[in-house]
């Protein structure tokens, strides 16, 4: 972290609060920064405002007070740098896999040639070239999520905001998706903010974990994760991993008692 200090953060949240018009306070005084190429997870119990915080970073929900900047801009102005991956794959069922993946480029007005080339490249990246002509209803849950990720990557984002993207998958598929995400992040250097309620997933993926306490959502602790990820299979079965999971679980249990 000390190396990162002094560098302009990719995402900066300063004294961010969120209160609904009806008066319910969702988030109170959230402060944190995310630096280029970092993966941070937002961890907390259901209803503590994790998804709301992520949507505020994406500019999909307004901030009641405080400030969020993305690469120095307001979230709404920085959307070209950002891709949002939802908990559901949010595929358009009337489009084939290929046409779902090229949606972002189509909306940008890219030429057919560029769209085709980029779509094929992304489908290859996520290992789905063979199902390009299929419709979403013909795919498994894991495949749908990979299509969703491929779609998010076509517009060359610098920042990925991921809202519990693997929550609905079985454990084995989820582990495989986590491995793939780390591999791709290693290649492309994206900055990732990952919302999850799984301690194990947060520890495995991120260098820092932002633990939120509920009612209203507050930053309880920013946990630095010390884990060697040079070999992913070893990392998941290592003692260090288990110790980190236990440590973060203890902190999370504390969050429940706050």
């Amino acid at each position: 972290m000390s190396i990162l200090r002094g560098i302009v953060p990719e995402i900066a949240c300063t004294r961010v609060c969120k209160q609904y018009r009806q008066g319910a306070e969702v988030l109170r005084d959230i402060n944190f920064m995310v630096y280029k190429g970092e993966i941070i997870s937002i961890l907390g119990l259901s209803g503590c405002g994790k998804s709301t915080l992520l949507k505020m970073i994406a500019g999909l929900t307004s901030v009641s007070s405080g400030e969020i900047t993305v690469n120095g801009m307001t979230p709404a102005n920085a959307r070209e740098l950002v891709s949002f991956i939802f908990q559901d794959p949010t595929l358009l069922p009337w489009r084939t896999v290929k046409r779902n993946v090229d949606l972002g480029l189509e909306l940008e007005g890219a030429t057919r040639e560029r769209r085709d080339a980029k779509t094929l490249e992304m489908l290859e990246l996520v290992g789905l070239s063979e199902v390009a002509g299929r419709y979403p209803r013909e795919l498994s849950g894991g495949m749908k999520m990979r299509v969703s990720i491929a779609r998010a990557l076509t517009t060359r984002p610098r920042i990925l905001l991921m809202d519990e993207p693997f929550a609905a998958l079985d454990e084995m598929t989820r582990d495989r998706m986590n491995d793939e995400l780390l591999r791709l992040q290693g290649q492309h250097g994206w900055t990732i903010v990952f919302v999850t309620h799984s301690v194990a997933e947060a520890v495995f993926l991120s260098s820092r974990i932002l633990v939120l306490a509920p009612n209203p959502g507050r930053l309880l602790e920013m946990v630095n994760v010390e884990l060697d990820r040079s070999n992913l299979a070893d990392a998941r079965s290592s003692d260090a991993y288990e110790q980190e999971v236990s440590r973060v679980s203890r902190i999370l249990r504390g969050a429940h008692l706050v």
Binding site: A58, L60, R79, E80, F86, W94, G104, L107
Partner: protein, 263 residues
């Protein structure tokens, strides 16, 4: 396949029983043929007067089809406008319901008075009766898009037109087909109702509604029965045509066509 054949055989069996019952009633109560013609007389009329019957059927099919097609274009256009603004919906949606609740039999003479009596006026009456189900269903489909899908388009800085035509409109297609299915059946009713009032510019020639009036005035009861059968066949044909198009456009991606395939 076996199940389909069994369903068809069941339907034919019921039909045969009803026809037999009809014949038994005539034999038992000695009903005169101008009151209730026998099934054989109706069948014979269907054959001997096939040409004028087919002509009437084609005229009504043109009017009902025209009304239905117009209602699809106009209904989708209105829904596109409604999907853009909750304020517009609140202002004008009650009038759509009004279209559905006003009895067409009361409106038909007015339409004929304003638009003149002819096939175009009958098409207009059919259009009016078909419009409300198309607007109601399509609008519902356009405004019930999942919030995450809307956010997805927002994240890609999609324009209002892109969101409307690449998200809301395709999302509403299954709902549009529900509306078309409802309207397909009632388009024929609308056309026949219109014809009952509109008459025909060609003496002795006109749509099914006109021919029903003509046959009724002449006490040609067997022909009246044949006309009723033709009207039912036309209604069924429209309904199944709508179902075919629904299957054709949706079978690749939408759940509803599985029910159609199972039916």
């Amino acid at each position: 396949m076996k199940r389909h054949i069994r369903t068809l055989l069941n339907a034919l069996g019921v039909f045969a029983v009803l026809v037999a019952l009809w014949q038994v009633i005539i034999w038992t109560f000695h009903v005169p043929s101008f009151m209730l013609p026998s099934p054989a007389q109706v069948a014979a009329t269907l054959v001997t007067r096939f040409s004028p019957l087919a002509q009437s059927l084609l005229i009504t099919a043109e009017e009902a089809g025209g009304g239905l097609l117009l209602s699809i274009f106009a209904g989708v256009a209105v829904s596109l406008v409604f999907a853009q603004s909750a304020w517009l919906r609140r202002m004008f949606y009650p009038y759509t319901i009004l279209l559905q609740t006003v009895p067409i039999i009361a409106v038909a003479p007015l339409i004929l008075m304003w638009a003149g009596s002819g096939e175009w006026s009958v098409t207009l009456i059919s259009f009016i009766i078909c419009l409300a189900p198309i607007i109601a269903n399509t609008t519902q489909g356009m405004i019930s898009v999942d919030e995450n899908l809307q956010h997805l388009f927002l994240m890609h800085n999609a324009s209002s037109a892109q969101t409307l035509f690449k998200l809301r409109l395709p999302h509403a297609i299954p709902n549009l087909f529900v509306g078309i299915r409802i309207s397909a059946g009632i388009s024929v009713i609308g056309a026949i109702t219109g014809e009952l009032f509109a008459g025909s510019s060609r003496v002795g020639q006109g749509g099914l509604g006109y021919s029903i009036l003509y046959a009724s005035a002449q006490l040609q009861t067997a022909y009246l029965f044949a006309l009723v059968i033709a009207a039912s066949v036309l209604g069924f044909a429209f309904f199944f045509l709508a179902m075919f198009f629904e299957w054709y456009f949706l079978h690749n991606w939408h759940q509803s066509t599985r029910a159609l395939e199972a039916a």
